[in-house]
């Protein structure tokens, strides 16, 4: 069928700079660039370009620029280019439209409508260069009270398992299969270096990565890929995945082409077969079933590891979260509507779920109203871009945040939203053995560790400005937030006052 789809981008090559080295040809996994031998020139097939910047970065003479295709449609507020082209694409394929990364629609980003406080006069700000500044956080359930033998100051209460992280930022679940083994190892190495955790996602744990177990969260999802006792023992925490912000209510699909021999071994499924994660966990049709799985996993790990539950942030998140905590989750994860994915139906990614800021505020408030906030750590995910977002999330009530996209961007990703093709030219969202070699975990993990190092400095500066020297004093401390440009209802849900009021 002839495609009516126009090219999204135009590749512009400065011929006075091009030295015909063909780096762009070999770098582009979409085969956009080619050598036209008759013309003796390097040419581009614009319609293949996804604007991933791989060629731009690797062109030694900086000869390449990518533009949006200036091709216009007649102005129509309802029928914009994206709407028209989605219809064209579906008319040609007859299927669901797939996409990668997080929601790109202009839903309100509440982080950008909240501002932080700082000390002036009545309270000295604290200088993190000269004073201690503590970011360490323990993930795990806390008892309502502690029994201490007063005479000898020995704690009599046995605490549930607690896992420390040195800054309240962890790497979100990204499975081996969705991303490459080298990308997984990069996350593992950076997490180890920075004293935080990365998450296996639902793809099992490759043998090569067992040595990073202390900094690993092992996920148990509806497909149960690669879940066995050794796997559970390997991690520092176990996470039950109920849902994901990019695709609430549906399962996952790793196409057979991505199921290489190594992926097959790790996931415990035949090579080349589609890995289908069912939409629900078929042993969890209700909250009491969740409780059974939580305790089955606690039994399996002999009560030595926190067991958490991750859900997509949806309308009843507060009530659901309360149920999860009462069901015995040691930590809960809320993944908001901007949460990313390796592959999801575009229509789901763009239309289902709620923003993480409101979900977090509602959940933290509800757990406090019920007096059970301390019984579980609250971790959030879905669109965290920088340390400002992290700091605001802590103030709203999160113990820690997960980052996915930000971590991948540090590794080279340009958020081109083509993860689902498996051809990631940066070697991230691919299992192609040739492409995944583009990531050298030893070198790329340094970029990732640097990102966390930078954020850590920034969070400390913001804390010090607020006159706080330990992150627990900001957690849930919404008085340090103020709203700018929000409605009264939004401020009420967020539990944040108007700036200047």
């Amino acid at each position: 069928m002839k495609s009516y789809l126009p090219a999204r981008f135009k590749v512009e090559r400065d011929e006075t700079r091009c030295i015909m080295c063909l780096a762009c040809v070999s770098q582009c996994s979409y085969e956009t660039h080619y050598l036209d031998e008759e013309e003796g020139k390097v040419m581009s097939r614009d319609e293949r370009c996804v604007n991933c910047h791989r060629c731009v970065v690797f062109c030694p003479t900086r000869a390449i620029t990518i533009h949006k295709n200036p091709l216009e449609y007649r102005d129509n507020y309802n029928w914009r280019a994206e709407n028209i082209e989605d219809v064209i694409r579906q008319a040609e394929s007859g299927g669901m439209l797939l996409t990668g990364m997080g929601n790109d629609k202009p839903y309100r980003i509440y982080w950008d409508h909240m501002v932080l406080n700082a000390s002036q006069v009545t309270n000295p700000s604290i200088d993190p260069l000269r004073e201690p500044m503590e970011l360490r956080t323990y993930i795990g359930a806390k008892p309502d009270r502690l029994e201490v033998d007063p005479a000898i100051q020995v704690v009599k209460t046995k605490l549930p398992p607690q896992v420390p992280i040195e800054l309240p930022v962890m790497f979100s679940a990204m499975s081996y299969g969705a991303i490459s083994l080298t990308a997984c190892e990069t996350l593992a190495r950076a997490a180890t270096e920075m004293g935080t955790l990365y998450n296996t996602g639902e793809g099992g744990l490759h043998r090569k990565l067992y040595k990073y177990g202390k900094n690993t969260i092992v996920q148990v999802a509806s497909g149960r890929f690669g879940v066995h006792s050794e796997y559970l023992d390997a991690g520092a925490m176990v996470e039950i995945k109920i849902g994901q912000g990019a695709k609430p209510g549906i399962g996952g699909h790793l196409p057979g082409e991505k199921v290489s021999a190594e992926v097959s071994m790790t996931r415990m499924i035949p090579t080349g077969t589609d890995a289908l994660s069912p939409a629900p966990q078929h042993d969890i049709y209700s909250i009491e079933d969740l409780s059974q799985l939580i305790f089955a996993l606690k039994e399996a790990t002999n009560y030595t590891k926190p067991v958490g539950v991750k859900i997509a942030a949806v309308h009843n998140a507060a009530a659901i979260a309360s149920g999860m905590v009462r069901a015995g989750a040691d930590y809960i994860v809320l993944d908001g509507i901007r949460g990313a994915t390796g592959a999801a139906p575009k229509i789901i990614r763009d239309n289902v779920g709620i923003p993480i800021e409101v979900a977090l505020a509602a959940v933290d408030t509800r757990l406090r109203q019920e007096g059970i906030r301390q019984r579980a750590s609250v971790v959030i995910a879905g669109g965290i871009r920088n340390s400002g977002d992290v700091t605001k999330a802590i103030a709203l009530g999160a113990d820690a945040v997960y980052i996915g996209t930000a971590a991948l961007v540090a590794m080279g990703c340009c958020v081109c939203q083509h993860c689902h093709t498996g051809k990631c030219p940066w070697g991230i969202a691919t299992t192609d053995p040739r492409l995944q070699k583009r990531i050298n975990p030893e070198i790329v993990s340094e970029r990732l560790a640097n990102l966390l190092r930078g954020w850590s400095h920034e969070i400390k500066d913001m804390l010090g400005g607020m006159g706080i020297n330990a992150v627990e004093s900001l957690r849930g401390n919404r008085l340090h937030l103020r709203a700018v440009g929000l409605t009264e209802t939004e401020m009420k849900v967020l539990g944040v006052e108007q700036a200047g009021a």
């Binding site: 009545t122 201490v148 704690v155 627990e472 004093s473």
Partner: protein
């Protein structure tokens, strides 16, 4: 907005910010003495306040009513007194009531009606309350939030808080504190920055026989308050000081921790220091931070917390507000400035500046009356 918010926090700020002078003195032998010296000492730090609040707490002043809760009330609205008295009649056994004696004093403006009641709980407590103390806390909160214009500003046994708008030395004169005798006195001169000052907003803040005088601003207030709300405390006054009082009440009375453990919760050891400790100490300090992290008091503060038989001085863990401690014989002094101590006791055995987060604890050597007190050294902390 409730009447208290209108009075106490008229601009509806997050919380009421104030800085100040604080002072405490205790005779650990239990000898009772008048309020003359404590007044002189706090007056010496006159410039640390701005005349918008002064107050005192004194322990051992009502030996003749030792077993009864002494409720000090201020009435700011017509009808409040009648409302409280009928509430007290139906909720307590009322032993005695009288106006709180005052005299005309320079620097003290229009005062509310001030009255005190000595009450017993007896059969009034029902099974919903674990103890008489819980019952009294509940009833005090009911009066303070439910009866318009009435405010209980002291509710312990054999102790009392006295406070008002004015410089502390004038407040002392007004309440005739030179005529009372107690073995432990604390005092406060206030410098509020976001309230015109009202009588109930002065320190000490108290619940049962716990009193707190406080200098500083607690930047963790937002989460401290939200944590305490989970345990049923309502921070109606929106002050840091109230949070300290409730935190201590929760930790000591309800969770059963001694004051040294409380200090390790409010001003905890740094993680970097915990890592260098013996594994058992690590476990102790780590567990406290894990469980009670939301009660860490962050930001600059010095507090003097007192209850029957005990006085505790504590600063934030990096000591952003001043505290000097001193001893002389059986006397323990705590003060914002050493000069105030030297003024009333030029000769001292010892005067020192405690480390940040290190509690200075003074205890009665002999238990007064029926009260059980630990037989610890009279002054601990170094």
């Amino acid at each position: 907005m409730t009447m208290w918010q209108r009075l106490h926090n008229p601009y509806n700020d997050d919380k009421v910010i104030d800085a100040c002078s604080i002072f405490g003195m205790m005779d650990t032998s239990g000898r009772r003495f008048t309020g003359v010296d404590v007044t002189k000492a706090i007056a010496n730090m006159h410039d640390r306040g701005n005349g918008l609040g002064g107050g005192f707490a004194v322990y051992g002043i009502y030996p003749e009513h030792k077993e009864e809760y002494a409720l000090h009330l201020m009435y700011l609205a017509p009808g409040a007194k009648e409302g409280v008295e009928s509430f007290l009649e139906s909720n307590f056994f009322l032993v005695h009531s009288e106006p709180i004696p005052t005299r005309k004093a320079e620097g003290i403006g229009a005062a509310p009606i001030l009255w005190r009641y000595f009450v017993r709980v007896d059969h009034h407590k029902d099974s919903a309350f674990a103890s008489e103390d819980d019952y009294v806390v509940d009833r005090v909160m009911k009066i303070n939030t439910g009866i318009e214009g009435a405010f209980v500003f002291s509710s312990g046994k054999d102790m009392g808080a006295f406070k008002g708008v004015g410089y502390p030395e004038d407040v002392s004169n007004f309440y005739r504190l030179d005529e009372y005798r107690g073995y432990l006195w604390t005092a406060h001169g206030r410098f509020p920055t976001n309230t015109p000052g009202w009588w109930g907003g002065a320190h000490p803040f108290s619940i049962l026989d716990w009193t707190v005088v406080h200098n500083g601003e607690i930047s963790s207030y937002g989460i401290n308050r939200r944590y305490l709300e989970m345990f049923g405390y309502h921070c109606t006054m929106q002050t840091d000081t109230e949070v300290v009082a409730y935190a201590v009440d929760l930790l000591v009375r309800r969770h059963g921790h001694p004051i040294e453990v409380v200090a390790d919760i409010l001003a905890p050891t740094l993680w970097s220091e915990i890592e260098r400790e013996h594994p058992e100490r690590q476990d102790y300090h780590r567990s406290l931070r894990q469980v009670y992290g939301s009660l860490l008091l962050n930001g600059p503060f010095t507090v003097i917390i007192a209850h029957q038989g005990e006085m505790i001085g504590l600063t934030d863990r990096i000591r952003l507000r001043p505290l000097t401690a001193a001893t002389n014989g059986n006397m323990l002094y705590l003060s914002s400035e050493e000069s105030a101590i030297r003024l009333i006791s030029p000769e001292l055995d010892r005067a020192w500046i405690p480390m940040g987060g290190e509690p200075i604890v003074g205890r009665l050597k002999a238990a007064p009356g029926a009260r059980k007190l630990p037989e610890a050294a009279s002054v601990s902390g170094n």
